[in-house]
Symmetry: C2
Subunit: 126 residues, 2 copies
């Protein structure tokens, strides 16, 4: 029922779509190409494959097809977080968090946000 885990290149395209909203291949290509060299046909092929796999949905009404993620961003992110949690952290959210925080400096604001998030979470659960 849910699509497979996106590969690296697929995730890159998802990220672009998350930020742009539903887009044509051209728009995605332009954004990707700003970061790294990539041929238009490469991006096109990816998006076609992703549609086949069920990662993207596409609207063929116009000549230039419009693609959008088949799953909401949050669902994909949840899937990826859980996947890594199981595969590398034996399910321990705490360890995952330590890994994420120690990997780079988190701003004080972000830390505050994180604490608030935890409080909410702890509140609604009991």
């Amino acid at each position: 029922m849910h699509p497979p885990r996106p590969t690296d290149a697929e995730l890159e395209i998802l990220r672009v779509l998350w930020s742009l909203g539903p887009s044509t291949v051209r728009a995605v290509h332009e954004t990707v190409n700003r970061r790294r060299p990539a041929q238009y046909s490469t991006v096109l092929k990816f998006m076609q494959i992703m549609a086949e796999k069920g990662l993207l949905r596409r609207d063929e009404k116009n000549r230039a097809h419009v693609y959008e993620p088949a799953q909401p961003r949050e669902a994909t992110q949840r899937q990826l977080a859980r996947d890594l949690l199981d595969r590398a952290f034996s399910g321990s959210a705490k360890e995952l968090m330590m890994g994420a925080l120690s990997s780079r400096k988190a701003s004080p604001e972000e830390l505050a946000e994180l604490r608030k998030l935890l409080e909410e979470y702890q509140g609604e659960r009991e």
Copy 2:
């Protein structure tokens, strides 16, 4: 200087070594095989490749070589967490945490631990 990101199968073997400590191929194979069918030579091949890639180090003193992770567990986990953070969460630790928490029930104890972790983190930073 640091090894490449481990693939799925490689991570599975790392996980076994994290739990067993330095081990022979046989020991790793037995553990892996308890979970899913896998030939001895498959596990052997992986571990050889991983040694080549710099993911494992091996001691050839005895006839049955003894392998261990080249990096401490924490370093690999940090790398993976950061990698996912960048690739899927645009660097937002908050979103990663939401993904991790919503993906499965976290126990109240774990939530408490997480809060403590954040407090320490916030304390040492300023």
